[in-house]
């Protein structure tokens, strides 16, 4: 009898255990609501902050150097995954995009509206391995905002995205956009007026980032691959001399303040130095508007009659 009793208890306990459903856990609550707006470079961050009711919600990661060559960590991308929308410069600016997992449906490509006007770089290094055909890493020029009319179109795309997707948007968005576009148009007009003094002026750029700038303002720019804070090697000076034989420029445009040593040597070659900061990353002081105004001011001696 005692044994039968034990068996009955064992059966009851087993039934109880089985009835506890351990396998099919119900899905947890949906992901936390996305509130931050990701922007991939400073010009977009500046536009977004001017358009948004809550500028604090604009997320531009702290990036050391050019945001186009950002190498995000998994933690950075986990933060980006929580943002909505993801405002990108486009035109292949975000080199990191191919190696990360982000919600692609939330992406807003601000330069796609003028995709037919993107400039393609050619003659970059091509390589081949195995029996497959050669391939290169040539690409699209991505400093689209240096044509201020394109920057205005990017601001328009950004405003559309904020209006459609983000609850941060305030009712004042149309006015904010109008003011921003007005400022950008002002910069564009000022540059056009300045560069009209010397159409097709030949210039040398320290870096190949001024293609849209040259096209928009009717300039003839050839670039070397120099860094403002690094004194060029002799081979680089030789390359510059070679360029100058067919492209007699009198000014070099720098992305940032060059070394005095470089300025002096350029001066001896008959080249003046002027800074036109593309302002791709958060500046130490000022903002996009003031930096661009300073850039125009810097260019005045170049186009002086």
């Amino acid at each position: 009898m005692k044994r039968l009793h034990s068996i009955c208890w064992a059966i009851a306990a087993l039934s109880l255990l089985i009835s506890c459903d351990s396998e099919s856990e119900k899905p947890a609550s949906p992901p936390a609501a996305e509130s931050k707006v990701f922007v991939s470079n400073y010009p977009l961050a500046y536009f977004a902050r001017r358009l948004s009711a809550d500028p604090g919600q604009i997320y531009l990661p702290e990036i050391n150097g050019d945001p186009a060559f950002w190498q995000p960590t998994a933690e950075d991308i986990s933060t980006v995954q929580q943002c909505n929308p993801l405002i990108l410069n486009g035109a292949t600016y975000e080199k990191w995009l191919n190696t990360v997992t982000v919600p692609r449906r939330r992406i807003v490509d601000t330069s796609s509206s003028f995709q037919d006007q993107w400039i393609n770089i050619e003659n970059e290094v091509t390589h081949q391995h195995g029996p497959k055909g050669p391939h290169s890493h040539n690409g699209i020029v991505f400093t689209t905002w240096l044509d201020l009319s394109q920057a205005a179109r990017q601001a328009q795309s950004l405003a559309d995205a904020l209006g459609e997707k983000n609850p941060l948007t305030n009712s004042d968005l149309p006015n904010q956009l109008k003011n921003l576009i007005s400022d950008l148009d002002g910069l564009n007009a000022a540059l056009k007026k300045l560069t009209n003094n010397k159409p097709q002026l030949q210039l040398v750029a320290s870096h190949p980032v001024y293609q849209y700038f040259a096209r928009a303002y009717n300039l003839d720019i050839q670039a070397v691959l120099w860094e403002p804070d690094v004194y060029p090697e002799e081979q680089q000076w030789t390359e510059l001399e070679k360029i100058l034989t067919t492209h007699p420029a009198q000014w070099m445009i720098w992305e940032g303040p060059p070394l005095e040593k470089s300025v002096q040597r350029l001066k001896k070659m008959g080249l003046g130095s002027v800074v036109f900061d593309p302002c791709a990353n958060q500046p130490d002081s000022g903002d996009f508007l003031s930096i661009m105004q300073q850039n125009i001011k810097n260019l005045r001696p170049v186009f002086a009659q």
Partner: protein, 401 residues
């Protein structure tokens, strides 16, 4: 009276325990008769529930022409028979049409027995999949593992998994890719528990469409270079080191050859914006020019056809079960009658000891009752187990091994 019944059950219990083997066989035989019809009903109803619920959550599937059932099963359950590929451009076109959200799936590779599903983060939102441990994949080469797959692969966040080469003989084929597990999904009781999820681009890396290797422009070993021309074209030989694991150090060297819009996907889940968009999409892919290169299927309809087929089979099985049950019941009855004959001397002794015929019959009825009760308990246990594990069993049956 109660005491007499109690005594009958005591005698019957002692008798059954004395003849353990025979009693056990009778109990099991009777339990099977009771269990099998219920088991069939449970499995069929769970199949219907399982097949229809997942299909109902998948309004449309876009894929290559061919068997619509294969396409549905491949997309919904990641079964091994892979449909022909379509291109990523097909998914982009749907997105750009604004009619639906397209969720691409690339299910061409495995880790052991488990499918690698290359997809986008939209898949996790659509299927309401949540991370139980760790985080979603963020970088190329990272993987998130389904609950059941994690348990059977014995892996958790921080571990690594290696993709299984499709062909061991093809030494020039794709390299296996070592993937970092970043998270394990909460169990859902669906095919997602049995999969390893990666970013779509990671599946393209496994397919050999993207890779990372040492920088040729910095190469100082002349034996790697086959030729180098004036057009900055460098041709390397097989000595060039191609990475089989994506790490923070070599991540930047990974690149894809060609336009990703032309890269393959197995199929795409389409989630139309509304009924009108759904009708427009269906109309678009019924167009003869489109239907020759792509097919758009409605999984609920495909699955309903499969369920109908299962029900037709079940009807046949029901008849078989009834015939077997009657035959088994008759056999048990025969065994019982024969055992009574064998027990004739024992029953006569009981009678001579002073027990009436009614009391003797009471012993036999109590034996029958105890056997029936034990069979019922055993059948109930088996039914509970089936209820509990049936869906897991089904999912495993659906996954091709």
């Amino acid at each position: 009276m109660i005491k007499a019944i109690g005594n009958s059950f005591f005698i019957a219990g002692r008798y059954l325990l004395y003849h353990k083997g025979r009693s056990l066989i009778l109990i099991i035989a009777l339990a099977i008769i009771l269990f099998v019809p219920v088991f069939l009903n449970i499995i069929v109803s769970q199949s219907r529930k399982q097949l229809s619920s997942r299909a109902d959550d998948t309004p449309l599937i876009l894929g290559a022409p061919g068997s619509s059932l294969d396409l549905a099963m491949s997309n919904l359950y990641f079964v091994a028979k892979q449909p022909a590929s379509i291109t990523y451009q097909d998914a982009i076109d749907i997105e750009q049409s604004g009619l639906a959200t397209a969720i691409p799936l690339h299910t061409g590779f495995r880790v052991g027995d488990f499918r690698i599903v290359g997809t986008t983060l939209d898949y996790f939102e659509h299927r309401q999949l949540n991370i139980k441990d760790g985080r979603l994949m963020a970088m190329l080469g990272e993987a998130v593992v389904g609950a059941s797959a994690a348990r059977r692969l014995n892996c958790s966040a921080g571990d690594s998994l290696v993709s299984t080469p499709e062909n061991f003989i093809d030494i020039a084929g794709q390299y296996p890719l070592k993937m970092k597990v970043t998270g394990v999904l909460a169990a859902t009781g669906t095919a997602d528990d049995e999969a390893v999820f990666v970013d779509l681009r990671t599946s393209w890396v496994i397919a050999g469409l993207g890779h990372g290797h040492q920088d040729l422009s910095k190469n100082k070993d002349p034996s790697i270079t086959l030729k180098s021309d004036d057009k900055n074209t460098v041709t390397a030989n097989a000595k060039l080191i191609t990475y089989i694991e994506i790490t923070a150090k070599n991540l930047a060297s990974f690149h894809f050859h060609g336009d990703d819009s032309g890269f393959p996907i197995s199929s795409a889940i389409l989630v139309p914006k509304d009924e009108k968009s759904k009708a427009l999409l269906l109309g678009r892919y019924q167009n003869p020019s489109q239907s020759q290169t792509r097919q758009l299927i409605r999984p609920p309809l495909i699955m309903q056809e499969l369920i109908d087929a299962i029900f037709r089979i079940k009807t046949v099985l029901d008849v078989v079960v009834i015939v077997v049950a009657i035959s088994t019941a008759l056999t048990i009855l025969l065994v019982f009658i024969l055992s009574l004959r064998l027990r004739a001397r024992e029953l006569t002794t009981i009678f001579r000891l002073g027990c009436g015929r009614l009391t003797t019959a009471g012993f036999v009825i109590a034996e029958l009752f105890l056997i029936a009760a034990a069979s019922l308990i055993l059948a109930a246990l088996l039914i509970t187990l089936t209820n509990h594990w049936g869906h897991t069993l089904l999912i495993q049956m659906l996954q091709e091994r």
